[in-house]
Symmetry: C2
Subunit: 316 residues, 2 copies
C-alpha cells in the first residue's frame, strides 16, 4: 500500500466544521467572528512516550488526548487537528487500530482531522490541534494572583504508578494496576471542564510533566509563589497499595496525568464547584497562591516539608 492509498483508507474522512480538509496542499479553517484560534502541538516518540507493546487503539486515543488536554488548559473548544506520522513500514492492522482509537476520541469532541503528513521513519506521532475560544477569554498561565486558591481536577499519579509496574519497579494488586494502566494509556482530556472554567479560573495549565513542575510554570509566569497542602494532595491518587512517600511522589511529580491545575479567587469557590459539576469532573482545592516566590509543601498541621521532587524533563 502506497502513501496516498494509506491516507485515503485510514485518514481521509469528510469534515463537518472545517472549510477544507485532507487532500489539498493546505486545510482551510475559518474561526467564527469574535473567536481566536487556540493552537497546540505535541509529539510522541516510541520508547519515550509509549511502549512499543501498547495497543494501537489506545495509542491513537492518547496521541490526540494529550493535545486536546492543551486546548482544555486554555478553555478552548476543539475544532480540528493535523496528524504527522512517521512509521517504519505500513502495518495495516496497526493503522486500523490507531486510526480507530484516534477517531473515536475525535468524534467524541467533534474534532475534524484536516490534514497532515505520513512518512517512513522511526514511529513518531506529531499532532497539532486547533480550538476556538472567544477573543480575550483564553485561560493563560500568567493570571494567578496572591490569595487565589489552587485546584486540581480528577486524580493524579496513576499513570506513574502504571509506568513503575511496567518497569518492574513496583508490584500492586491486579485491580489497582488495571485502573492505573487505563489512566496511563487512555487519559481523559478535561475539555468540558476547561471551557466551564472560562471567566472563573484566573490561570490554568494541564499536568503532563508532574503537578509541581507544571504548577511551577504558572508561578513563574504569574510571578507568584504557592503553598500546597500535602495531606490533601495525598488523597489524589485514589488507589491503594503504596507507601506514603511513594504515594506523595506519584501525586506531586508523577507526570502523564492530563488533569488541569488551575487557580481561582476564594470568592469563586461556589462557581468553581458548579463548573466542575457541569463538566462532570471532580476538582480538589490543594493549596493557595502567595506573593512570596517559590513552591512550599506543608503537612496536615501546616508544618513545612523539605522534600524536593523532580519534574519530568525530556533532556534532563
Amino acid at each position: 500500500m502506497g502513501e496516498f492509498d494509506l491516507i485515503d483508507r485510514f485518514f481521509k474522512r469528510p469534515v463537518t466544521r472545517t472549510a477544507l480538509g485532507v487532500g489539498d496542499d493546505c486545510a482551510l479553517l475559518a474561526p467564527a467572528p469574535g473567536m481566536q484560534l487556540a493552537v497546540s502541538c505535541d509529539m510522541l516518540v516510541e520508547g519515550r512516550h509509549f511502549l512499543s507493546s501498547v495497543d494501537p487503539v489506545r495509542l491513537g486515543h492518547k496521541a490526540l488526548a494529550v493535545n486536546l488536554s492543551d486546548l482544555a488548559a486554555c478553555g478552548a473548544k476543539p475544532l480540528a487537528f493535523m496528524l504527522a506520522l512517521s512509521m517504519p513500514r505500513v502495518d495495516e492492522t496497526w493503522l486500523d487500530g490507531f486510526s480507530r482509537g484516534m477517531f473515536a476520541l475525535a468524534d467524541a469532541h467533534a474534532c475534524d482531522l484536516v490534514g497532515g503528513d505520513t512518512t517512513q521513519g522511526p514511529l513518531t506521532i506529531s499532532i497539532t490541534v486547533f480550538g476556538e475560544v472567544p477573543a480575550g477569554q483564553a485561560l493563560l498561565r500568567s493570571g494567578a494572583q496572591a490569595g487565589d486558591d489552587i485546584y486540581v481536577s480528577g486524580t493524579l499519579g496513576q499513570a506513574r504508578l502504571a509506568l513503575e509496574v511496567f518497569r518492574g519497579k513496583l508490584s500492586v494488586p491486579a485491580e489497582v494496576f488495571d485502573v492505573a494502566r487505563c489512566r496511563m494509556e487512555q487519559p481523559t482530556p478535561r475539555v468540558a471542564l476547561g471551557q466551564a472554567l472560562r471567566g472563573i479560573a484566573t490561570a490554568a495549565i494541564d499536568v503532563s510533566d508532574g503537578l509541581l513542575g507544571d504548577l511551577g510554570h504558572v508561578l513563574r509566569q504569574s510571578r507568584v509563589g504557592a503553598t500546597i497542602d500535602t495531606a490533601v494532595a495525598n488523597e489524589l491518587l485514589g488507589l491503594d497499595g503504596l507507601s506514603p512517600g511513594q504515594r506523595l511522589e506519584f501525586v506531586l511529580a508523577g507526570g502523564d496525568d492530563y488533569e488541569l491545575v488551575f487557580t481561582a479567587t476564594p470568592s469563586a469557590r461556589d462557581a468553581v464547584q458548579a463548573a466542575a459539576q457541569r463538566a462532570g469532573t471532580a476538582v480538589t482545592r490543594i493549596g493557595r497562591i502567595e506573593s512570596h516566590p517559590g513552591l512550599r509543601l506543608v503537612d496536615a498541621g501546616g508544618k513545612q516539608l523539605d522534600q524536593r521532587y523532580a519534574s519530568f524533563d525530556h533532556f534532563a
Copy 2:
C-alpha cells in the same frame, strides 16, 4: 541544558503578528475578518528527507521552506508556525545553526514561531504552518479545466541531480553540483508567486514528489487529463552534464523541487506572466489540460512518448 532552557534559548522570540506565542499551553491566532486560515504540516526524518551530514543552518531553512511551499501552493500569506522537534540529545551547536537557518527564512516571510514541542528521540522535525487567504480565494487542486494551460515555476530536477551525486550514482562538474546542492538543501518556497496567482490560476500544487506525480493529484481532483511537451520540460533543469534521458527523468520525476505547478486559462497568459514578473519568479508553459483522463507526454513534433516515470512514494 534542560527542555525549557533549550526552548528559551533557541526558540522563544517575541511574536509580531500573533495574539500569543511560545510559552503557554496554546498559541492564539486571530485571522483578520474575511480571511481563512490555511494550515499545512510536513515532517522531515533524518536519513529519509535529509542526510545526517547536512549543515544545520540549511536544514533549519529547508524544514520551514517545504511548509511555506504548501502555503504558496494555496496562495496564502505566511503568518505563523509550530515546531515539533525530536532529537537524540541537546547539541547546542546544532540547535544554534538549525534555529538560525529557520528564523532567517521565517523573518524573510514575516512568519512567527508560536509554539511547539521538543523531546528526546530520533532526529525528526515536524512543522505546522499557518497562512492567511481571503475567504474563497485559496488556490485548490480541484479547479483545473479542459483547455487550461499548465505552467511550472523556476527550474526542476536539480535537487534530484544533487541527491544522485550524493548517492555516488552520478558525477557532474563541481559548479553544476554546487548549484544543484543549494537547490536541494535550501529550496526557495514560491510564496510571492502563489499570492500573485490568486484570481488567475485555476489550480495549483507544489512539486515535492516529482512534477508528474504532483500534477497527477491536480488531474485526479479536477477530473481531467493533460499533455506535457517534453521538449519544453527538457529545458527546465537549467544545468548541463546529463544524458537526455536522465535529464527528462530528473525534470519530470525528480522530486524535492518546491516549485509551483499550476493551471490557467489561455486568456490569462498575459496575467500569468505579469504575476510571475511581480513575484520575481520565471514561469514556463509546459502543456495543456484536456478532458480525456490520464497524463500524456509528447515530443517536439507532437508524437506521444510511452516512457513511464514513478513519482516519489514514502512507502513504495
